[in-house]
C-alpha cells in the first residue's frame, strides 16, 4: 500500500475478488491518499469501538449481528461497491499499524476485529459463507451416508442440549479435528468422537473465526516488527504522528496512574470501602476482612483495584499482611503472598505494571468454589444480590430496576443504576470500570463536603 499526497487515485489492482468480506490476507497493492489514510481509519475505529461497547453491555449474538450491521452501514458505506471494499481493506491495514505496537493494543484489536468478522459472517447467506470457507482453503470433509446415520441420535442430543426442543439434525456436518474449533468444544456445542468434532453447517462460523483470528494474530506480530525496524523512523514526519494519535483516542483511561481523586491511605480504607467502592470490590473487601483470606482471583481483582485507587505498594503490603497474618501468619504471608503483591506493582518478574481490570474482564471471569471475585450482578444468585444491594442502601424500587437489568444480562447498566441510586445523580457515561465508579463517587462526595474526609 502506498500513501501519496492528494492526487486522484489511479486504477488499483486490488486483491479483492468475490468474497463480500475480505480476509486481509495480504496488503493491497494500491495507492491511498493521505487524508483517506486517517479518515478511513477513524471510521473503522468507530465501528470497532461500537463492537466493544456492545460486547461490554452483554449483548447476545443476535443483537450483536444487528449492532454490526448498523455500525457498518453508518460508517463504512460508499455508493460505489468497489470503493467500499477498498475502504474496508485500507482501514484494516492502517489500524494494524496503529494497534500492533503493544500487547494490550494488539489484544484489543484482535478481539474486536475477530468479533466484527464473526458477525459480518453470520449476516451472510449460506452460499456466501461457504465461499468464504473455501477461501480459507480448509480441507474438511462433509459427513454423509452411513456415518451420518450412526451419529444421528447423538447429534440430535447435542442440538437438544443447546435449547432446541425438536432435534432438527442438519443435512450437512463437517468432520473436523477438535483442535480447530475450540470455542465449540468449550461450550459443548458439538459431538466429539475419537478426536474429531462434528460441526454443523450453521456452526461454520466458529471454524472460520478461529482461522481468521490466528491469521490476524500472526500478522500483527509481523507488522510490529516492520514498524519498529523501518516504518516508524521512515515515516516520522508523515504517518507516524497520525498512527500514534489514533490509538490513544479510543481506549479510554486505564487507571494505572492514580488521579487526584484517587489517593487513599490505609487509615481511610474501611470508610472509603463503604462509601465509594462498587459492589464487586466491596464484596471482596468484606470477605477479606471476614475470612482474612482471598483466593488468587480475588487477590488480583481487589489488589489491582486498590492500586488504581492510589494505594501505594508499602501500604498495600501492610494491608494484606495485616489481614492474612490473622489466618496464615505473617511468615507465611511473606513467603507466599508478598511476592504476588509486588508483582502486581511491577516490582518482580518481567516488571509489567498491571492495570486494574475493567468491567468487561471481570464480568467474563469464572469464579469457582471458594472464590469471591467476578461481577456480583452476573455471578450472584438473585437472593444474594438483593441482600448485597440492600446493604448498599438501595430502596425496594431502586432494587427492582436494577434486578430488571440483571435479568436482561445488562450487568454494567445494573451497576450504573446502583451508582445513580446510591449517590442520587445520573451517570450518563455508564460504568465500565470499577475505578471509574470509585473516582466518580469520590468526585461527588468531595464536592458535597470539601473539607471532611470521605
Amino acid at each position: 500500500m502506498e500513501v501519496i499526497r492528494s492526487q486522484k487515485r489511479t486504477a488499483s489492482n486490488d486483491v479483492v475478488s468475490n468474497p463480500k468480506i475480505p480476509l486481509y490476507l495480504t496488503a493491497p497493492q494500491m495507492e491511498v491518499r493521505l487524508e483517506e489514510f486517517e479518515l478511513f481509519a477513524i471510521d473503522r475505529l468507530r465501528v470497532l469501538k461500537g463492537v466493544s461497547d456492545g460486547l461490554a453491555r452483554g449483548k447476545n449474538p443476535k443483537e450483536m449481528d444487528e449492532v454490526v450491521n448498523t455500525l457498518w452501514k453508518e460508517n463504512m458505506r460508499h455508493s460505489d461497491a468497489s470503493e467500499m471494499v477498498n475502504k474496508d481493506i485500507i482501514s484494516h491495514f492502517v489500524l494494524r499499524l496503529v494497534y500492533c505496537r503493544s500487547d494490550e493494543l494488539k489484544k484489543w484489536f484482535l478481539s474486536m476485529e475477530t468479533a466484527l468478522f464473526r458477525h459480518r459472517f453470520r449476516l451472510q447467506n449460506l452460499e456466501a459463507q461457504r465461499a468464504i470457507v473455501g477461501e480459507f482453503g480448509l480441507p474438511y470433509k462433509a459427513v454423509t451416508g452411513a456415518e451420518l446415520e450412526s451419529l444421528k441420535e447423538r447429534l440430535g442430543q447435542v442440538v437438544r442440549s443447546l435449547g432446541q426442543i425438536s432435534p432438527s439434525v442438519e443435512a450437512v456436518y463437517y468432520k473436523v479435528p477438535f483442535e480447530e474449533v475450540p470455542d465449540l468444544v468449550a461450550g459443548r456445542r458439538v459431538l466429539i468422537q475419537k478426536g474429531y468434532a462434528f460441526v454443523a453447517g450453521s456452526q461454520l462460523v466458529s471454524l472460520v473465526v478461529t482461522q481468521f483470528r490466528s491469521h490476524i494474530s500472526k500478522a500483527l506480530i509481523l507488522t510490529n516488527r516492520k514498524w519498529t525496524t523501518t516504518i516508524r523512523e521512515r515515516e516520522k514526519d508523515r504517518l507516524t504522528p497520525i498512527v500514534e494519535a489514533l490509538s490513544t483516542t479510543y481506549l479510554g483511561p486505564d487507571y494505572s496512574q492514580s488521579s487526584e481523586y484517587a489517593d487513599i491511605s490505609l487509615k481511610d480504607i474501611d470508610q472509603v470501602s463503604k462509601s465509594s467502592f462498587p459492589l464487586c470490590m466491596r464484596h471482596l473487601f468484606e470477605k477479606l476482612r471476614e475470612d482474612h483470606h482471598l483466593k488468587h482471583g480475588g487477590r488480583m481483582q481487589l489488589g489491582l483495584f486498590l492500586k488504581g485507587v492510589g494505594l501505594k505498594l508499602d501500604d498495600a503490603l501492610a494491608f494484606w499482611r495485616a489481614e492474612f497474618s490473622k489466618k496464615v501468619g505473617s511468615e507465611r504471608f511473606d513467603k507466599e503472598y508478598a511476592y504476588g503483591i509486588r508483582h502486581n506493582y511491577g516490582k518482580e518478574g518481567k516488571r509489567t505494571d498491571y492495570t486494574p481490570y475493567a468491567c468487561q474482564k471481570i464480568i467474563s471471569s469464572a469464579p469457582g468454589a471458594g472464590d469471591h471475585h467476578g461481577c456480583p450482578y452476573r455471578h450472584f444468585s438473585e437472593d444474594n444480590l438483593r441482600a448485597a444491594l440492600g446493604r448498599m442502601g438501595l430502596s425496594s424500587r431502586g432494587m427492582e430496576d436494577v434486578m430488571d437489568k440483571v435479568r436482561n444480562k445488562h450487568y454494567q447498566l445494573a451497576c450504573t443504576l446502583t451508582f445513580e441510586a446510591v449517590y442520587g445523580t445520573s451517570c450518563d457515561a455508564g460504568i465500565n470500570h470499577p475505578n471509574q465508579y470509585f473516582e466518580e463517587s469520590q468526585k461527588i462526595l468531595k464536592s458535597k463536603t470539601p473539607a471532611a474526609p470521605v
Binding site: 447423538r154 442430543q157 447435542v158 437438544r160 442440549s161 443447546l162 435449547g163 432446541q164 426442543i165 477438535f178 483442535e179 475450540p182 470455542d183 468444544v185 468449550a186 461450550g187 459443548r188 459431538l191 466429539i192 468422537q193 475419537k194 478426536g195 474429531y196 510490529n224 516488527r225 488468587h296 513467603k335 469464572a366 469464579p367 469457582g368 468454589a369 471458594g370 472464590d371 469471591h372 456480583p376 455471578h379 450472584f380 444468585s381 437472593d383 444474594n384
Partner: protein, 469 residues
C-alpha cells in the same frame, strides 16, 4: 572389619550409620525427613578406590551392596526415558537437545524455590537431585531454547523464549469438593470420600480416550488428597493454550461458590452426549449407591436443606421439607432414610418438572453437584504451568506419588500408598536388593509394583509409538 572401623571411613558410611540409627529409632514417628529423602533419591556413587578397598573383604560384599543400592528408589532412567519421548540421539530425525529444553523446578528444604532448571541428560538430572535432595520436583514445559539460557534470547524477534510442547495436564483436588463431603474437610481424605476421585478418574479417562482419541495417559496420586493426569500424545503436547482451555471448559460443569445456590445449571432439553454417558455410566450409580452409604446426604436438616436449595421452586421445596421434618424417628439406617428421601424427591420433581425450565433436569443437576469431577481449570489452561513429578514424595504425608491404573482405580487406596518411612524400613529389614533397574526384583519391594506398572502400561507403549513416528 567391624562397624566402628567402618564409621571412620567418613561420608560414604553415612548410609550405614543412618541404618544403624534407624534400627534404634522407630521410623513411624516421622513420615518424612531429609535423611529418608536422601536414601530415597540415593547417594552419589562411591568413589572407585573406596569401592575397591571395601570389596576386597568378602564379608563386606553384602554391606557394599547395601551401600551401593540402598535407597536409589527414585526411577531416574524411567522418568528420563519418558520425558525424552524417544529423542535418544541414537537414530535419525532425533533431537538430542530435546530433553535439555525441558523446564524443571526444585523446591528445597527451606522453601527455597528454583525455577527454570534444565538438564542435558539423565545423569545430570540425577546428579542434581542427589546433591540437593529437593522436597518437591515439578515438571514444566519444553521450551524453544534451554531454560537455563533463556536470558540470552530477547523477548521479540524470531528467537523468543516460549513453550513449544507440554503434556495436557489435569489436577483434581478433593478440597474442591468440601461443600459436598461430610466425612472430612480440608487436607484430610478417607475411604468414604476418596471414591469421588475414583469416579473422576473413570469419567475423565473415558472421555479422553473415547471423545478426544488420546492414547498415552498417565494418572498419578498427588501424595495427599488428589490426582494428576498427564496426557502425553504428541498432538496433546502441541496444543495451544486456547485449545487446552477449550478441553478444560468442556469438562467443566460446576460453576460457583457460596455466592450462588444453584452451582450446576444444565440447560436445554437434554444432556450433551458426553454428560449423558457420564451420568448413565458413572454418576447415577455412584450417587444412588456408594455415595448414599458413605455420606448420607439427606439424613439431617442441614444436609437436606442444602439439596432443597438447589430446587428452584419454593413450593416443591416446602412440600419436601415438610415431609421430611415430620417424618419423626425411624428404625431405618441413615443410608436407608437417604434413599427413601431421594426417591421422594425424584418422584416429586418428575411430576412437576414442566413447571419451569430450570426444573427440567434438576435431578441430574443434584447428582452432578455431588459427584461430577471438579478440575482445577488454571492448571490445564497454560503451557507454562508446572506440575509435580510422578514418584516424588509428598512432604506432608511422606507418601510417594505413585501412578494409578485407570482401569483398576476402584482398588486404589490412598492410605495404603507406601510412605518414605515404610520404604526405609523395608530396606533395613529386607536386606534384599533394591536396585530399581533390575526387573526381577521389582515385585519384592513396595515400590516395585508401581514402577512395573509405569513401565508396562505407560512407558513402553509410549516409546513404541514414538519410534513409529
Amino acid at each position: 572389619m567391624r562397624r566402628e572401623e567402618m564409621e571412620s571411613k567418613g561420608d560414604e558410611t553415612l548410609m550405614m550409620m543412618d541404618a544403624a540409627q534407624m534400627n534404634n529409632q522407630k521410623p513411624q514417628e516421622e513420615f518424612f525427613n531429609v535423611n529418608y529423602l536422601r536414601i530415597y533419591y540415593g547417594k552419589t556413587p562411591l568413589s572407585l578406590s573406596l569401592f575397591l578397598i571395601i570389596i576386597t573383604f568378602d564379608l563386606l560384599v553384602q554391606t557394599s551392596q547395601l551401600l551401593l543400592n540402598a535407597g536409589n528408589l527414585f526411577p531416574y532412567s524411567d522418568i528420563h526415558k519418558w520425558l525424552s519421548y524417544g529423542h535418544d540421539g541414537k537414530h535419525p530425525g532425533c533431537d538430542e537437545y530435546y530433553f535439555g529444553r525441558r523446564e524443571f523446578s526444585f523446591t528445597l528444604e527451606n522453601d527455597v524455590y528454583l525455577r527454570y532448571k534444565s538438564f542435558k541428560n539423565a545423569s545430570s538430572i540425577e546428579d542434581a537431585i542427589k546433591s540437593t535432595f529437593p522436597y518437591k520436583i515439578d515438571i514444566g514445559a519444553v521450551y524453544s531454547v534451554d531454560p537455563d539460557k533463556r536470558h540470552a534470547y530477547s523477548q521479540t524477534g524470531t528467537n523468543v523464549f516460549t513453550p513449544v510442547e507440554r503434556e495436557l495436564v489435569f489436577d483434581i483436588d478433593i478440597t474442591d469438593y468440601d461443600d459436598v463431603r461430610y466425612c472430612c474437610s480440608g487436607a484430610d481424605v478417607c475411604s468414604k470420600c476418596w471414591p469421588l476421585m475414583t469416579v473422576a478418574i473413570k469419567l475423565i479417562h473415558t472421555s479422553l480416550t473415547d471423545d478426544f482419541g488420546f492414547k498415552h495417559i498417565l494418572w498419578v496420586f498427588s501424595g495427599r488428597r488428589g490426582v494428576h493426569c498427564w496426557v502425553c500424545d504428541p498432538k496433546a503436547r502441541r496444543m495451544t493454550n486456547e485449545q487446552r482451555s477449550a478441553v478444560a471448559e468442556y469438562f467443566r460443569v460446576y460453576k460457583g461458590n457460596e455466592n450462588n445456590a444453584r452451582k450446576v445449571a444444565l440447560m436445554g432439553y437434554s444432556l450433551h452426549p458426553f454428560l449423558a454417558r457420564s451420568y448413565v455410566d458413572f454418576l447415577k450409580g455412584f450417587f444412588e449407591g456408594e455415595l448414599q452409604a458413605t455420606q448420607s446426604i439427606f439424613s439431617s436438616k442441614d444436609k437436606y436443606d442444602k439439596i432443597l436449595g438447589m430446587i428452584s421452586d419454593e413450593d416443591i421445596q416446602s412440600e419436601l421439607r415438610e415431609k421430611w421434618e415430620n417424618s419423626g424417628r425411624s428404625s431405618l439406617s441413615e443410608e436407608a432414610i437417604s434413599l427413601v428421601r431421594w426417591d421422594q424427591l425424584k418422584n416429586t420433581l418428575q411430576s412437576k418438572k414442566h413447571k419451569a425450565p430450570t426444573l427440567r433436569m434438576c435431578v441430574e443437576e443434584i447428582v452432578f453437584t455431588f459427584t461430577y469431577p471438579r478440575i482445577d481449570l488454571e492448571v490445564s489452561k497454560h503451557m507454562n504451568h508446572l506440575l509435580k513429578a510422578p514418584f516424588c514424595v509428598h512432604p506432608k504425608t511422606g507418601r510417594v506419588c505413585v501412578p494409578i491404573d485407570p482401569n483398576n482405580c476402584d482398588e486404589f487406596d490412598p492410605l495404603a500408598v507406601p510412605t518414605l518411612s515404610q520404604l526405609i524400613e523395608e530396606i533395613n529389614s529386607g536386606g534384599s536388593r533394591m536396585d530399581v533397574d533390575d526387573d526381577d526384583d521389582s515385585d519384592r519391594c513396595l515400590l516395585g509394583k508401581s514402577i512395573k506398572f509405569f513401565r508396562s502400561s505407560f512407558l513402553e507403549p509410549l516409546l513404541k509409538s514414538c519410534k513409529e513416528k
